[in-house]
Symmetry: C2
Subunit: 138 residues, 2 copies
Amino acid sequence: MRQPTDHSVLEELDRAECLRLIAGVSVGRVGFDDGQGPAVTPVNFALDGETVVFSTTLSGRLNRSLDTLFTDADVRIAFEVDRIDEETHTGWSVLLRGGARRMPEGERAPVEPWPDGDREAHIRLTPTEVTGRRLRSP
Amino acid sequence: MRQPTDHSVLEELDRAECLRLIAGVSVGRVGFDDGQGPAVTPVNFALDGETVVFSTTLSGRLNRSLDTLFTDADVRIAFEVDRIDEETHTGWSVLLRGGARRMPEGERAPVEPWPDGDREAHIRLTPTEVTGRRLRSP
């Protein structure tokens, strides 16, 4: 039988706590639509004020989506960051949603991506929705 | 100056390796569209053959999207799993994409979600695309 007391408890996090939590993390996951449905890809990112900045390859699926579908306009994306401990079943996740666009020529995301290769498309997400949940011991 | 040799190397993974890697993990992230753009949410999941099964709350954003947009039909979703080490800048990520649908009445995803609360919507993703990348030391 399922024992309810074995389960962790989910709590909503407020915007300030969400931003505080993700400030300490280097990798998040971009959710976007490439014209063939949803896709999710990890990227190195930084917080710049209350915006998220990251870079991606010019030839990559993510940049092609931004480029071909929404040139010089905002495209709605999602950005998810989490820290979940598989041992203790505790942690947190944060979801930011809003409009993203290429940064103006000459501006660069202050992020040093871990993989090799050029990532010359610099993207800024200005979230209109910041939500998060903490998973804690009962 | 950027030192190319400091960067990790990205390698493509084949489908078999992707499925082998995610079989050992309990939490993945569903990418979907809730009608207001992309969203990403972590879930406990299991592999069932080459399909991914998970459960979610009937009242939640994910289930509402499946329900209201695509009743009794496949809806395209993405499912991402990764293991990335922030210390060594190594790890891997896998992305599955394809059609998801509610499981038939009486079938249940063989997953025990960590959070408390009922998760009575059981979903199966049958991926048509399985891609992954390993990030390794140079």
